[in-house]
């Protein structure tokens, strides 16, 4: 290898690099142009008719989706809020029985599920952010899939817990295990709230799976799609509800 070759090879390398950069820029520009046409395609009625450019209209459409889901979540908060308030009223009236009943729930399953659900909150948040940037398709897909799997894991653990509860006769009715009558009210809430939460989670899993499948089939589907953010917000609410359910159902009577 002669010393005279080195500057030549360096020059050659630089031209090569510059060519690749140029190529990359055209590629990027093409993708941006492509993105603009995509933007038109992604606009829906009635947003497509707004008297602005497509980018602003698309931003408004995204804002519309976000506003819509936030209003819906406000109504969901009231739904669970009313349930929590009812629980509070019943618990204030029957403190002892609620403490006794609270000791019967399985705190291991409960804590495990809390950990699972909080982790899923991380994955869905990453998916939402990645989709918003529009650049990390594989990351978005992976996080969506992880979220769905974590959600399913929660339901499986919950299923084991339900089986144990039924075996221990913790279902309100004729063969209820605990002697204090108001303990039945606690378990009425336990079943009602956890089942309603599980239904919400089931819907969440379906939504996330749908996004993952669509994103897997159509490479452009997830990029900047407001549906990811909307689904993520819904998922966070389901998560947040559990954060209230955990102390409500698993911690009474366990403080000492």
């Amino acid at each position: 290898m002669s010393g005279a070759d080195i500057p030549a090879r360096l020059r050659e390398g630089r031209t090569d690099l510059e060519a690749r950069l140029r190529e990359g820029r055209t590629d990027l520009e093409a993708r941006l142009r492509q993105g603009r046409t995509d933007l038109e395609a992604r606009l829906r009625e009635p947003w497509s008719d707004l008297e602005t450019d497509d980018a602003t209209a698309f931003a408004r459409q995204r804002a519309g989706a976000a506003l819509g889901i936030w209003i819906f979540l406000a109504s969901e908060v009231l739904f669970f809020g009313a349930l929590f308030l009812t629980y509070t009223a019943a618990r204030l009236a029957n403190q002892e029985a609620f403490a006794a009943a609270g000791r019967e729930t399985n705190i291991v399953y409960g804590t495990l599920n809390t950990a699972i659900l909080l982790t899923s909150s991380l994955t869905i948040a990453v998916a939402s952010q990645a989709a918003e940037k529009g650049l990390f398709r594989r990351l978005t897909l992976g996080c969506l899939a992880a979220t769905a799997v974590l959600g399913l894991a929660f339901l499986v653990v919950k299923g084991f817990e339900y089986r144990e509860d039924i075996e221990k006769h913790l279902v309100p009715g004729a063969h209820f295990a605990l002697t204090q009558a108001p303990a039945q009210i606690f378990f009425a809430f336990y079943w009602l709230v956890t089942v309603v939460h599980a239904i919400h989670l089931g819907i969440g899993i379906a939504l996330v799976t749908r996004l993952a499948i669509k994103g897997w089939r159509d490479p452009d589907f997830l990029a900047e799609n407001p549906q990811v953010e909307v689904t993520a917000l819904y998922w966070h609410l389901v998560d947040l509800v559990w954060v209230f359910l955990y102390p409500m159902l698993y911690l009474p009577g366990r403080s000492g």
Binding site: E45, P46, D49, L50, E51, R60, A63, G64, L67, G68, I71, F72, A74, S75, E76, L78, F79, A82, L83, T86, A89, A90, A93, N94, P172, G173, A181, P182, Q184, I185, A188, F189, W191, L192, V196
Partner: protein, 563 residues
Amino acid sequence: MSTTASPTGLADPDELDLGLPVSYLADGHSVRSWLLTTDHKRIAILYAVTITVFFFIGGAAATLVRLELATPEADVLRADTYNKLFTLHGVVMVWFFLIPSIPNTLGNFLVPLMIGARDVAFPKLNLVSWYLNLGGGLLAVAALILGGVDTGWTFYVPYSTVFSNTWVSLTVLGVFTTGFSSIATGVNFIGTIHLLRAPGMTWFRLPLFVWAMYTTSLMFVLATPVLAVTLLLVLAERTFGLPIFDPARGGDPILFQHLFWFYSHPAVYIMVLPAMGVVSELITCFARRKVFGYTFMVYALVAIAVIGFFTWGHHMFTSGMSPYAALVFSFLSFIVAVPSAIKVFNWTGTLYRGQVGFESPMLYALGFVGLFTLGGLTGLFLASIPVDVHVQDTYFVVAHFHYIMVGASVSAYFGGLHFWWPKITGRTYPETWARFAAILMFFGFNLTFFPQFIAGYLGMPRRYHVYPPEFQIWNVLSSAGAAVLAVAYLMPLGYLTWSLLFGERATNNPWDASGLEWRTTSPPPRQNFFGSPRIQGGPYNYHPEGVAPVHDQPRLPSRGSLT
């Protein structure tokens, strides 16, 4: 912008060669084009058809109830059938007619038109909302066919959870389903009004009808979930024997009433706020004057919506509540009368020195103001605890809420239906018949419900099919009124249907009204407007500077529709 731009920035359809169907009604004629539509105008028509059916189902039940009450004895119905009929009447009328009536028909049709939008923010959700409403209604009707419900429309526990052997669960499921429809509609309207207003349409340039829809939507979104929880608890208790409301097992039935009325008292405002919106539009148009105190009208709507959430306890003065709580709820119930009074004051202020025309929509609107005032004033009686204890569960209460919910809300619905009929269908209706029906409805209504105030004050209890003979005179009057009212409700069904087939083509703005919805063809095209609306001034501009009052000009039809 085209060169034909008018002051509002709309193109003139006559000067455009579009090659498209100019009316939303002509945009597809198949069943599929209706059942899978995402056009807010078509969905409004779908709602109108469903709620009309429910209105006449509920009305038929009411007629039978009044027939039975014409005599003190049980001549027509057995006690059991009577209970099922008044429950059916209440359930269908409240949940499937009154609550969706104005928001889902007129609101769906008009909100995008009035703010210059092409459609609502979530068109598909809008359609889903109709299917949920229909599904819920069908479940309730199925319960009726299978044998009925006897709990009353309030589903009070523990009767509804422990004792009743009727189709409570199915009915409750129906109402629960319809709740989703309400929430979806609320979300849609809020999104639309926030984000799809045309350039220049600021918040304080919105027509009062849009403001009314906005406040109603807030109530839909914030109140309905609590009802959903309540109904879910009733369902769970009935199906799985959970003990939440059952006093025999430590549950608390009063808790049910708190939860139920936390929704159902605001629901009264869900029924009456849209009516106020409609009436504001009608009065300003037929008095040819700007709404007196527009901003105060807006604040009053918002105040009613907010305070309406804090008055539910007045339904429970006799259910066992701490006297202090009762006092607070009494006070708050009085307070909610203040914004309502502001509205009545402003309507009369608008009429004062207006060039009032007595077309049929205006007759309905004036009827509304009278009936709403009477209903509202008797509401004050009920808000004061001693009087409430005296008339609790009597016909006084029945008369009061019918004045508000039927007298006010249904009058406004009919007024709005007549007012916007040319816009919705592109046809005019026979005005003489309409005026006659409006007047007949007012008299029939008062004849039906005013005697109930007296009977109730004298002590006639509600929900009984037999009663002491001394109340018969009032009941005969009331039943006679119900017959008149039935005729007055059937007449529009007749002549409006007639007008669909044989009515004249309507002009684009038959009333010379000022709203944006009149600046397009009758009926509007699929995309609502030709050109893009730009708003340059406040609403109700009936006397622009330098222009003679409109009543000086003859109201001639200018241009027919282009269907």
